[in-house]
Subunit: 197 residues, 2 copies
Amino acid sequence: MKTAISNRQAEIIATSGRILMEKGIKGLTTKCLADEMNFSESAIYRHFKNKDDIIILLLQDLASSTESRLNKIISQKKSAAENIQAIFKSQFSFFKKNPHYVIAILSESLMDGSEEIKNELFNIMQYILKILSHEIERGKKEGLFIKEIQTTELVHIIIGSFRLCMFKWKLSDFKIDIEKEGDKIINSILLLLKNKK
Amino acid sequence: MKTAISNRQAEIIATSGRILMEKGIKGLTTKCLADEMNFSESAIYRHFKNKDDIIILLLQDLASSTESRLNKIISQKKSAAENIQAIFKSQFSFFKKNPHYVIAILSESLMDGSEEIKNELFNIMQYILKILSHEIERGKKEGLFIKEIQTTELVHIIIGSFRLCMFKWKLSDFKIDIEKEGDKIINSILLLLKNKK
DNA sequence: CTTTGCAGAGTGAATACTCACTAACCTCTC
DNA sequence: GAGAGGTTAGTGAGTATTCACTCTGCAAAG
């Protein structure tokens, strides 16, 4: 399905990322993209069918990089708590290096957009949900996490906290130290999850 | 400061709410608003300086109704846990009746919009933050909530969970039973907050 | 001589907002 | 109680701008 990405396409999605950071979703227009690429608007359409396809490629990039990154972590088979911590740390450090993805993930305009884009966003969310659920179940079986609360709810609380971190970070124009703030939240959550003996 | 709202203005913000539900933020255009009001686009400007002012009034409505609603709850001086539960229940039942506010609250386009709109959204968030912090501090003093985690983090976790509820609800096109789902989350959170003796 | 990569000019649709104008109504005065 | 003067709420035709996207043509590469 996935055709190889040309150099030019890679450049375009990289530039799109930069624009996302500088001007937000609304700033990501074909005109702006062409300006930043130092070529004309019409040149874009030599490399992409339409604007949606640019965003889709960008999200596919995020999806595949997220999956390979997190799969590596959970394959190490440490404790559930350690894995969850490692997942969060990895997410925060990755987004710190690539904050433009946060703009895409939190964007309602993308969510309201084309069906394909929506699916890409869903896939990413579903994947995170899946591995978090798995780790929590594992933690419960190990007797480390409280069993009184359903996994679904725990995952909800974790993801909600994570998203709010991202949201606050974006609101601060990415000036907050997200790794520091994120750490605080992970540790608090892990403390809450701990089984009361 | 606040001048009295005319009937027409009230009608316009009510219609805006309906449009928000039917067509989302993107659908809330002056043309659409005029169509739904059965008058011309220009007539809007007899009642509002500009489109932003319509949204500001809508958010001010939300703010004042939220404050009076929640102030009543916390003034009853029940236990912190009961208050937090009542706050959530009140929020969920209010939003169930007025789901269009959820669209406004979760909207990034509004957040990226005018400074005044952003301030309105901030005020609402700040208010919720304030009363939740207060209740949690109270719960800690009463010895009901765990003291090992800072209030800031606990509030973050609670608000994050709440926002994710809203987000999922909106994603489902408001088909999920938000009061039921919300209840589950409140109870889980309150269980987590409980002091481990 | 065909494909690739681009430029330039343009298109149609949408958007928030303005402007000149008007019909209906209210109130005061003679 | 009839006109004068003013207000209110509306119309319809526009404006400037922005947006994604298209069409035609051109130059270089293979």
